[in-house]
Amino acid sequence: MLKFPIYLDHNATTPCDPRVVEAMIPYFTNNFGNAASRNHPFGWQAEEAVDNAREKVATLIGADPKEIIFTSGATEADNLAIKGVFEMYASKGNHIITCNIEHKAVLDTCKHIEKEGGEVTYLKVKDNGLIDLAELEAAIKPTTILIALMYANNEIGTIMPMKEISAIARKKGILVFSDATQAVGKVPVDVNKDGIDLMAFTAHKMYGPKGVGALYVRRKNPRVKVTAQIDGGGHERGMRSGTLNVPGIVGFGKACEICREEMEAETARVSKLRDKLENALLRIEESYLNGDKEHRLPHVTNISFKYVEGEGLMMGFNKEIAVSSGSACTSASLEPSYVLKALGLGDDLAHSSLRFGLGRFTTEDQIDYTIEQVTTTVNKLREMSPLWEMYKEGIDMNNIEWAHH
């Protein structure tokens, strides 16, 4: 028996795994100490729990525990990385390279950097959502201090060639920062193999709690430093002050541990379901996959259904199926997705897209139901659409002059 609504928006957020909640609970009421309390066991227990979690988080990404700075989430980590490098390396230069499909947390921070006297190059992605490495190399200037490129995109799931990107950066002695919020826990991420110097990620995208994330900051080859953005008691080795969110951090650690242990099996399971969903939906006439099919996350597919309004489509079944037409952070706006527009999609296709994000608790029954619902709704909406009728009659929509009223 299916339970509604079916949640297929795991790129927006994920439920806490019950094992994560179980790990957290003792740190709320019993072992509730302040991890900075040095004089008694409540403090030590909290500190030990944080150390333990730090190790699990570090292990998942192939880092040393000392390279993990806990933050309130990925957005804060993005801010800390970009502003922190910009301030710390001011004497080396002021130029940052990023791309036009980054998450708002990176783009808005870069806009802020421009106001502070920084220079930012926004690389355009190709129509598959990946950057052109030659363009990246050409964008590098003597003043470039940072290349900030996301590991995997939150709307289309494409994975950037981080190894190649970091090889180019290394050659020129430029730091690489990656917002890996969507990738960590889903695909193998290794900061050393990938050559990443700073990396932001968060617990709530991998079945951990909201309100806790991390910034990885490389300590060796090269030793990277960032200027703290939140000052105070000098927690997190001075890079991020504030009483540590002990239960949140414990939950983050547990979530990382589970992801690491189950990644291989889970990837196989979820990608099979994703492929089933995708293949079925692409069988609908005039439906298109957005983003590269090879280099991408195993649990997400983003599909445009031409001649159908994405919002209308969602309205058709959103009591039963929770999906999104793009990023949650911009989903209240009616603007078409800037990510899809960056791939070269026109407003019509960008407006008709849906993102399906599968997860740990997604079942085959749910996918079967979704296929049926989406297909029916697309067909129903098209029956009512004059555009669809014109298309069927063979009228080339691009040559129509629309009368203005």
């Binding site: 439920p15 008694h40 066991p41 801010n79 105070g232 969110n245 949140g248």
Partner: protein, 375 residues
């Protein structure tokens, strides 16, 4: 043996009722509040309901309450905003502020563009209001006054209305770190002349990782963390949903039981003062312990001896949890910047006892008995 936790100014145990309120928002109602389907809308509703609850309890507008990751972030945001967005060129603060304020002031207020200065303190640790007025009137450019409502180490309570009135008179911006008072005292922000206050959930039996910044409606500030339209464009980042729900619940419980709890905790503190005076020779108290002081904090100065120097260590061995100063700087036990600023007496050893509704008279008796033995 059961441990006695007398370090509630560092952090408090989460109330079971708060945990119960939070749990559904971790596993069942987990949606991203920005999502537009039912999971998202339910989360949004929970956050806005929490905001209204917090606003009602502090007598503020819901639009004046912004959720942050905690007191430290709130303090940083307020100070940066005052400088960047409100044109403050001079910061007046005190030497006994929390490091979240002191280090932020150091960060922004020691350049050429922005300067900072400490207000003078009276011998009992209270702010010298005459000096504050003198400093305010001697700066032509706009000032930021950042003074904590209650000190976390000695418990002194600031006359927030008097300071706010002075600030108003001199067109200064006033920020108050209320981390030790929100959830412990009824605040009426509509009647308090303050522009910013900071608070943290974990100081009043709420969760860690969540705090608020109150920003008075009359001022407009820009965000501190960029990258999403959350908190009405003021604080980017996916909201800490369960934390926000927990914050509101904890504040609700704290205010509902304020009369009863504050009276009870004050009685523990009074009892401990009395017991200490009667049983420990030469005991003194830091700050204004029997005057305008938190009912939750008791800062005691013991005469320094070979034995008393080891007091923190020995209390711990005996399962009594206290601290020398604040948790955030408790690595350096005897070297609290607060104690140094008010009472630089090398012949005294300071211990902070801080209480909550979960402590008992028996615990006070046990602690004093142990102290007698140890000193």
């Amino acid at each position: 043996m059961n441990r006695i936790y007398f370090d509630n100014a560092a952090t408090t145990a989460l109330d079971k009722e708060v945990l119960d309120a939070m749990l559904p928002y971790m596993t069942t109602n987990f949606g991203n509040p920005s999502s537009i389907y039912s999971y998202g809308r339910e989360s949004r509703l929970a956050i806005e309901t929490a905001r209204k609850t917090v606003a009602r309890l502090l007598n503020a507008h819901p639009g004046e309450i912004f959720f942050t990751s905690g007191g430290t972030e709130s303090n940083n945001t307020a100070i940066l905003s005052a400088i960047r967005d409100l044109g403050c060129k001079h910061i007046i603060t005190s030497a006994i502020e929390h490091h979240a304020v002191l280090h932020t002031v150091e960060h922004y207020g020691c350049g050429e563009e922005v300067t900072s200065h400490f207000v003078k303190l009276l011998p009992d640790g209270h702010v010298n209001l005459a000096d504050l007025e003198f400093q305010l009137s001697s700066h032509k450019e706009r000032c930021l006054v950042t003074l904590m409502h209650a000190n976390n180490e000695i418990g002194n309570i600031l006359d927030i209305d008097a300071v706010g009135t002075l600030c108003k008179k001199h067109n200064a911006i006033f920020h108050s770190d209320c981390v030790q008072t929100v959830g412990h005292y009824p605040l009426d922000l509509r009647k308090t002349p303050v522009h910013f206050i900071s608070a943290a959930g974990h100081k009043f039996h709420g969760p860690k990782g969540i705090g608020i910044l109150y920003v008075n409606d009359n001022i407009k500030v820009k965000p501190f963390i960029f990258g999403g339209g959350q908190e009405r464009n003021m604080r980017a980042g996916t909201e800490n949903l369960y934390g926000i729900v927990g914050f509101a619940k904890a504040l609700e419980l704290a205010m509902k039981n304020y009369e009863k709890d504050s009276k009870y905790i004050q009685s523990l503190k009074t009892y401990m003062i009395e017991k200490l005076k009667n049983n420990i020779k030469g005991v003194q108290f830091n700050g204004d312990q029997e005057g305008k002081c938190l009912y939750t904090v008791l800062s005691v100065a013991f005469p320094k001896t070979e034995r008393s120097e080891m007091i923190l260590f020995n209390l711990d061995i005996n399962h009594i949890c206290v601290s020398g100063g604040s948790a955030c700087s408790s690595g350096a036990d005897q070297d609290s910047h607060v104690i140094r600023a008010i009472n630089n007496n090398p012949n005294l050893v300071t211990v902070r006892f801080s209480f909550s509704k979960y402590n008992t008279r028996q615990e006070v008796e046990a602690v004093v008995a142990k102290l007698q033995e140890l000193i």
